[in-house]
Symmetry: C2
Subunit: 311 residues, 2 copies
């Protein structure tokens, strides 16, 4: 019986680790810097050294370790190969094969947004379900889809790239992806701040947001104060996201929709604005599909990585 | 070694059957009427009798038969239970259990649109792939999603209900589902005919479509003749469907998109109009995802049913 596993969430600045027991109890969490110089050549060796150190510290026997789950900030195939991960410096890399050779342990890997969805399904906002649509509202908009307990990876590792659903024909600015009118341009922290600025500029109504640095947090904090222009901003955000989520549920018919990422710290009020526009556009059998807030925060990645191994 | 299986595609007026060998060669196809009176009580017994008859006719041994795959025109759970299937007269029904008891053979079941997608993946327009998005443009717009060779059923059996993706905020008529602005209202045979009528009414330009009964077929036939108003109709159809398909591929990242149903008989020209609006809105890794026309026509159901059994 394997008693332990490691989760390793590789980000552009740090690699977050967790040592888990087979019940999902995290025994220790730690992190190391992500050394992206020289095409990120040191990242996997650094990780292997850190894991070996923890194995020694805890006096573990490698026979007791089920493996290492890893996530990366970009597309990765089901067999753990990345074509190119810009913010790690990597070109083509066989992540799981290399890390497995470096550590002597079995490895599995996934994309960070997808793996976070798996973590939230296991022990977070989607606990108790096996069909989960997770939406991450951060600097961008990411997504992760879990179908019958398994990540939907997609043909190019781009399953769940819901931030790039086309939702608007009028915007003139380009999205980071090169297209125009992506959901990310209206529902990310950056997008909400832009909407807020536009609504302030177009109106001469008073607002507690005036004179402050615009952000998604400011918008939702001001909504809670009853600020009319903040409420107008939240309505526009809710329209774009609510209708898009309704479309996603017509495709996927999940059991639950989990919303996470920095923007979700606004709390239940955010879900109210999304649901308001979701319900009229959702297919009848999905109108009552529950929404939940993510619960694992920045730890969703390491939990999901552990779940990749524990299955 | 099981040598044979049956596929049974239950529709509102007929049940289509196929007897297949394990290579997917269809040995015989036939159909019987669907007797929907008295809450459709006779449907499964009629099917069982017809299958028993064929077993005798072909002198088959039941040990050689892997089972019966069935599809139904409505939501059905993964364990073969329908809550209610209006156009068969059924209320709650344990389809696979009942048919299995009536025939003594293992049964598996799925929703018709999903099973058709499985058939097209196996031996039709999606042959050679295991991740397929199938779109059926008929009286309505249906869909079927295959992920790693398995149907995406969804929590309420409504996976792939892509006809009800919200795509328009201005239409005043209701969709059959009760919402307004569903894809089906713009991309089904009915929807295309409505678009064609509106475009004829709004213009006083000449058109070969004038004075004829409007239909999706008339629109695409007239497109091939270079008729300007028909082309304008096809453009509007292409915009709605192309953008919606781009959104679906941002969610699913399939290997191939297969378009079937009566409207797809228009041929490659239809794909041209869809692709024109798909590409600018598709996420970068999905811009070159191939489109194909369905190949199995009305037989997609029985092929998919067989594949449910052959796995």
């Amino acid at each position: 019986m394997k008693k332990y596993c490691f989760g390793a969430d590789i980000g552009g600045t740090t690699v977050k680790f967790g040592l888990f027991d087979s019940d999902g109890i995290v025994l220790e969490k730690w992190e190391i810097p992500t050394r992206t110089e020289q095409e990120g050549a040191a990242i996997l060796p650094d990780m292997a050294a850190s894991i070996r150190e923890k194995i020694q510290e805890h006096g573990l026997n490698t026979d007791e370790i089920a493996g290492i789950g890893v996530d990366v900030p970009g597309p990765i195939s089901e067999d753990g190969i990345v074509p190119h991960t810009a913010n790690l410096g990597w070109g083509y890399k066989e992540v799981t094969r290399e890390l497995s050779e470096l550590t002597g342990l079995p490895c599995r890997a996934g994309n960070d947004a997808n793996v976070a969805a798996l973590g939230e399904m296991w022990l977070g906002g989607g606990k108790g379900y096996t069909n989960v649509l997770m939406i991450t509202l951060g600097t961008g908009v990411g997504g992760g889809i879990v179908v019958n307990g398994k990540i939907l990876t997609g043909a190019h590792g781009a399953g769940g790239e819901i931030g790039h659903i086309h939702v608007d024909d009028t915007i003139e600015e380009c999205c980071g992806c090169g297209n125009k009118g992506c959901l990310e341009q209206f529902a990310s922290a950056t997008g909400i701040a832009r909407l807020g600025r536009e609504i302030l500029e177009e109106s001469d109504q008073p607002s507690i947001m005036r004179g402050q640095e615009m952000s998604a947090k400011l918008v939702f904090d001001s909504v809670k104060e009853g600020d009319e222009l903040a409420i107008r901003t939240a309505e526009v955000f809710g329209q774009y996201l609510g209708k898009a989520v309704a479309g996603m549920t017509a495709v996927l018919d999940p059991e639950i929709i989990v919303i996470g990422g920095g923007v979700s710290k606004a709390g239940p009020v955010l879900l109210d604005y999304v649901r308001k526009y979701y319900r009229p556009c959702a297919f009848k059998s999905a109108k009552d599909t529950p929404f939940a807030l993510a619960e694992l925060g920045n730890d969703a990645g390491i939990y999901g990585c552990a779940k990749l191994i524990l299955g």
